[in-house]
């Protein structure tokens, strides 16, 4: 067994940890892996080119930029903020908790495309959470604002990851089923979805509690100004 390709992982970890630009780290990593496996440099280059071309669909989501840009120019984020600022029961933590629940439930029904950082978090969810926090605590400091935004992105991720596996036709379930079938175990997708439920509940519990405590954290960050 040729273990030299593992060198690529070391390059990757060191590169990321040292804060080198990720694009350069990936380039060096790809060539390290290829050369360590005894592949000629030109063939590594061609393999990278082939793979990049074959994965262009990953970048198709950017088609969204013009419409989001236009809506922001028209004041979409400000609107989302004022809309929430009016609700007195709303706090940043509660809004994100609600979003986590909605995201997880809709993902469990196969509706993963209802959320996402470019579609929902930047234009709507994060401004709403910021708006709610500001109507309680006054103007947010930089670090507090960034914390709210980071939590908004995390609610989107956790909800999607630990909701989607409850849906039968999602690609990860199909991958598990396909791989286990190759190994001689024929399993109904329904059983796989069912056993994803305990983890999904725990994910909601753990991240939900952390979102719930975000409000207290923000209050501390706002300092002693509040009575």
């Amino acid at each position: 067994m040729n273990l030299w390709p593992l060198l690529a992982i070391a390059v990757l970890v060191v590169g990321f940890a040292a804060g080198v630009n990720p694009l350069l780290v990936i380039l060096v990593t790809a060539f390290t892996a290829g050369l360590a496996a005894g592949i000629a440099p030109l063939r590594v280059l061609a393999a990278l080119g082939h793979a990049f071309n074959a994965t262009r669909y990953v970048s198709l989501v950017w088609l969204i930029l013009p419409v989001i840009g236009l809506l922001e120019h028209e004041g979409l984020r400000e609107r989302a903020r004022t809309l929430i600022g009016r609700l007195r029961a709303a706090t940043a933590g509660r809004i994100l908790l609600l979003y986590l629940a909605l995201r997880q439930l809709t993902a469990a029904l196969g509706l993963t495309s209802l959320g996402g950082p470019a579609q929902m978090v930047r234009p709507i969810v994060a401004p709403m959470a910021e708006g709610a926090a500001e109507s309680r605590l006054g103007r947010l400091s930089g670090p507090a604002r960034h914390l709210v935004r980071a939590y908004a992105a995390s609610a989107d991720n956790v909800g999607a990851f630990f909701g989607e596996d409850i849906f039968i036709a999602v690609s990860s379930i199909l991958l598990i089923k396909g791989f286990l079938a190759q190994s001689g175990y024929d399993i109904a997708p329904f059983r796989l979805s069912m056993w994803a439920i305990p983890t999904a509940l725990l994910a909601f519990l753990i991240h939900g509690v952390r979102l719930w405590r975000l409000d207290a954290k923000l209050k501390r960050l706002a300092g002693g100004e509040q009575p």
Partner: protein
């Protein structure tokens, strides 16, 4: 679809070059221009040329050749005033995108024209998303009474803000393919099974779940880790030697991998791109708030699998 993206990036390139407020406008122009070439001609120019194109993009993006063009021209107050005038109608196009994407996902694949499906069933989600985006764009343009150039200019502004991070998810997907070619996964599985003590059922579960999470962190994707770890540890040890249930192992094993996804910069589209989109100064800010959840949940997964997998 690729042609549409190619056209969009061409427009970004032209607008960048013309934007005199950007000190590095030629760098931006070249970067978006090369991406446009990839989308328009990528399938015709051959693997080596594509490889050269990738390296050129990396060099441009990795060496700071990209600058930021003119930013938002309206102040926050001005935008708030406009928003107040327009009211909730503003939210309509933004909510149309996910709504149409979901409707399209469930219908487009079924519509047939002369026996041929209207949309390739494998790409139906992406096509539905694109349809949603186009409809929302038309509605937004009509509402704002703005010309299409205005939307492209605003899109360019956002693209400049994201900068090189825009190509990161696609490049990481490509790296995964190179890893597969070089046999990195096989080597990891080999090391895990040769060097670790796996004589007890709990040890096997522990190594399998931890391995899924760690390997996912390295690859940026639980899908790449699953076949390797399951072939090396899951099936031979948990299922065959200790008599565990393959469905429970597979389901919880994959979700252990997702815990790894939460904490790795390699999963750029979930962790790095949102940080850039939300204009966070720390690229790892999203990962940092996800670390406690990921660790707690991974521990839960290990216990859950150990308790459940040998019982059903």
């Amino acid at each position: 679809m690729y042609a549409l993206a190619g056209a969009m990036f061409s427009a970004f390139a032209l607008l960048s070059v013309r934007d005199r407020s950007n000190p590095r406008r030629w760098g931006n122009g070249a970067f978006w221009g090369l991406l446009a070439v990839s989308f328009l001609f990528g399938s015709r120019i051959g693997d080596t040329a594509n490889g050269v194109l990738v390296v050129a993009l990396i060099v441009l993006g990795g060496t700071g050749a990209l600058g930021r063009g003119s930013t938002e021209r309206r102040s926050a107050e001005e935008r708030a005033q406009r928003a107040a005038r327009r009211g909730n109608a503003l939210l309509v196009p933004a909510l149309l995108i996910p709504l149409l994407a979901v409707i399209g996902t469930f219908t487009l694949g079924r519509i047939e024209v002369g026996g041929v499906p209207l949309a390739d069933p494998n790409n139906v989600t992406l096509i539905a998303l694109a349809v949603g985006i186009l409809v929302a764009l038309l509605v937004a343009l009509w509402q704002a009474k703005a010309p299409p150039q205005a939307a492209l200019e605003e899109g360019r502004r956002l693209a400049d803000m994201i900068g090189w991070a825009l190509m990161l998810p696609q490049l990481l997907a490509a790296l995964g393919a190179v890893f597969a070619l070089a046999g990195v996964g096989g080597a990891v599985g080999h090391v895990a099974t040769t060097w670790l003590p796996l004589g007890h059922p709990f040890a096997a579960v522990l190594v399998y779940c931890l391995g899924m999470a760690l390997f996912t962190m390295v690859m940026g994707n639980a899908f790449a880790a699953f076949p390797v770890m399951t072939a090396a540890i899951g099936v031979p040890l948990i299922v065959q030697r200790f008599g565990g249930d393959p469905a429970i192992m597979g389901a919880i094993g994959m979700l252990s991998g997702f815990c790894g996804t939460l904490v790795t910069p390699m999963a750029a589209n979930f962790n790095i791109v949102p940080a850039v989109l939300l204009e966070l100064p720390d690229r790892n800010a999203v990962i940092k708030v996800q670390i406690p959840t990921a660790i707690g949940l991974l521990a839960c997964n290990i216990v859950l699998m150990y308790v459940l997998v040998f019982r059903f």
